[in-house]
């Protein structure tokens, strides 16, 4: 597209390296922070790379505080939330998987009808979803807290799953609807002439064709759910039901928790979604573009 002289090429390399530096800066920080001790961090406040490496931060988290290693030998206080890492990880996984499955299920039913059945109210439903996507969690939090409180759904995973499913459903519909719209209707009509019901044609013909869109939508919803803080933070105060973001948030402002330990738990919490993004990049890119533009 552009004439690539040597100077332009050099400038492009410099620009790319700047961007890469900016992208990797926090990743390097969380990595380097998590593999050293607070002592090493304090010993020299100007040194870039640590004097010594240690995996003690991970050991103490992954053994629920039982194996303290050298760093934490003399430490008497460890926040309980650090010790419940496995529970939090499992909670996060249960919530994210359930929310993804429910959202895909309900979302594909809706998105298909919105794309195929043109009634005034399905159009209205699409418009409602577009507006609903903008509703900030903070507005829903207060009434959701009171509603869930009166239903006895505080401190349970089901409350969080219901809330997140409802909250993410509009976005899923916006990602899926344009894709269903691109699938030719002839296929279903042929199937229906052969005696398939509308629902049968949807399940047997349309859904298999929509696998790429379902994958794109599913991975995006999983990531958002894995990252969601406010909903579980407000609905679940008991350690048994905390998700990873809530555990991380509970360490904020705890002056007794070292930065190194925080970086270690952050690294463990961000690993699953980083792996997902690395593996499924193509789908995420398509899903993000579909959900924003064609809605």
């Amino acid at each position: 597209m552009f004439a690539t002289s040597r100077t332009t090429k050099l400038l492009l390399h410099v620009a790319n390296l700047t961007v890469i530096f900016f992208i990797l800066l926090p990743v390097a920080a969380v990595f380097i922070g998590s593999i050293q001790s607070e002592k090493a961090l304090q010993a020299d406040t100007r040194r870039l790379l640590p004097l010594e490496f240690t995996l003690d931060n991970f050991t103490v988290i992954l053994t629920k505080g039982e194996q303290k290693g050298r760093i934490f030998e003399q430490v008497t206080y460890l926040p309980d939330n650090i010790k419940s890492f496995y529970t939090a990880f499992a909670n996060s996984a249960i919530v994210a998987v359930s929310v993804t499955v429910l959202t895909l299920l309900f979302g594909s039913l809706s998105a298909y009808t919105i794309a195929r059945q043109r009634f005034r109210w399905t159009l209205f439903l699409l418009q409602a979803n577009i507006v609903a996507r903008f509703v900030p969690v903070i507005v829903l939090m207060i009434p959701l807290y009171i509603v869930m409180r009166s239903f006895g759904q505080l401190n349970s995973l089901s409350g969080v799953i219901i809330a997140e499913t409802g909250f993410l459903l509009p976005y899923a519909i916006l990602i899926l609807a344009p894709y269903f719209d691109t699938i030719p209707a002839d296929l279903e009509e042929a199937a229906r002439i052969d005696g398939c019901t509308r629902f049968g044609a949807f399940i047997k013909i349309v859904l298999p064709l929509a696998t790429p869109a379902l994958a794109a939508c599913g991975v995006i919803i999983f990531i958002i759910s894995w990252h969601e803080l406010l909903i579980p933070l407000i609905l679940n105060a008991r350690p048994d039901f905390m998700t990873l973001p809530v555990v991380i948030a509970s360490l904020v402002g705890d002056v007794h928790v070292f930065f190194n330990l925080m970086m270690a738990i952050c690294l463990l919490a961000l690993a699953p979604t980083v792996i997902l993004v690395a593996l499924l990049q193509k789908y995420i890119v398509e899903g993000l573009a579909a959900g924003a533009v064609k809605g």
């Binding site: 920080a29 100007r46 418009q127 009434p143």
Partner: protein, 301 residues
């Protein structure tokens, strides 16, 4: 024939397909939105929650929010934060999308591979990582600048009231930029190459081609990013919680943080919290309507 084999009327079919969605949206979105409006005109504190009775108090909650100087500080900070993040994101997204579009440059291919990484980081973890980066005593950022010889004394990035809002804006931009870049990059693929070839024959230089072909063709996607990112930046929360908790002083109190603190920190004024959240929601709602009108002018799905 059993009932599930019989053919349904199209309108019935459409309705049944949407029952789960309608239930979910009703329970989690519509009802709470209406209920929040109800709460915002009632006195709701911990005592009232325990008793289960919310006395009506008219516009009192709204009045108290609008009289609270902290609310106006939070609103001003939110506007400044939104202006900084959205404008920088649009400029950066266009530049970086053009950069990763240079597929013949190997570093561009590397950038393109890495571009989605921030999207994978949980917002609260992102906040905490940047809190570590900014740390006055042990911070990674100061270490880098010391090593590069750019500063001689440590800088208190997030602890200085003059720089704190920028200090939380940078992590937010870092985390949300991939979304904007991907949209711009996708739009770039839709520009016909012939336009550039024709312009080159006519003697247009790179800047002219950008100014008269690329930029006009990106206008729509830039408008979409502008609207979406403005609405979401209005409700920024996690980075504030992790890095500054609204401080120092009130330098980074933003609207969502205000509603959160009023409601969930003692004295737990749920009514006033709802009122302030509603003011925020109405502003975002206005943005959402603009977005819908905009989308509909172009696409009829």
């Amino acid at each position: 024939m059993p009932w599930f084999r019989r053919e349904m009327r199209a309108s019935h079919f459409a309705f049944f397909m949407n029952v789960p969605t309608l239930l979910c949206l009703g329970l989690v979105l519509a009802y709470p939105v209406v209920y929040a409006a109800y709460l915002s005109v009632h006195r709701v504190g911990l005592a009232q929650l325990r008793r289960g009775e919310f006395p009506f108090n008219g516009w009192e909650n709204y009045g108290r929010v609008l009289e609270d100087p902290l609310f106006w500080v939070a609103l001003k900070n939110t506007l400044v934060f939104t202006a900084i993040t959205v404008s920088s994101e649009i400029v950066l997204a266009v530049l970086i999308a053009l950069l990763i579009n240079q597929t013949s440059v190997w570093t561009s291919r590397l950038t393109r591979f890495l571009i989605l990484l921030p999207y994978a980081i949980p917002p609260i973890a992102n906040g905490l990582i940047w809190a570590f980066l900014y740390s006055f005593q042990f911070g990674f950022l100061n270490r880098i600048l010391f090593t590069a010889g750019l500063i001689s004394d440590p800088v208190n990035w997030a602890g200085n009231p003059n720089t704190a809002l920028y200090a939380v804006a940078v992590p937010y931009i870092w985390r949300t930029l991939p979304f904007a870049i991907i949209l711009v990059h996708a739009a770039l693929q839709g520009i016909p190459r012939e336009l550039y070839e024709q312009a080159s024959i006519d003697g247009a230089n790179a800047w002219h081609r950008f100014r008269h072909i690329t930029l006009p063709m990106l206008r729509q996607i830039i408008a979409i990013i502008l609207i979406l990112r403005t609405a979401f930046a209005f409700a920024v929360f996690e980075e504030i919680l992790a890095i500054t908790q609204g401080g120092p002083g009130d330098a980074t109190w933003v609207a969502a943080w205000y509603s959160y603190k009023i409601t969930f920190a003692p004295p737990n004024n749920f009514g006033m919290g709802s009122a302030s959240a509603y003011i925020l929601a109405l502003m975002i709602g206005a943005i959402a309507l603009v977005y819908m009108r905009f989308i509909y002018r172009r696409v009829t799905l």
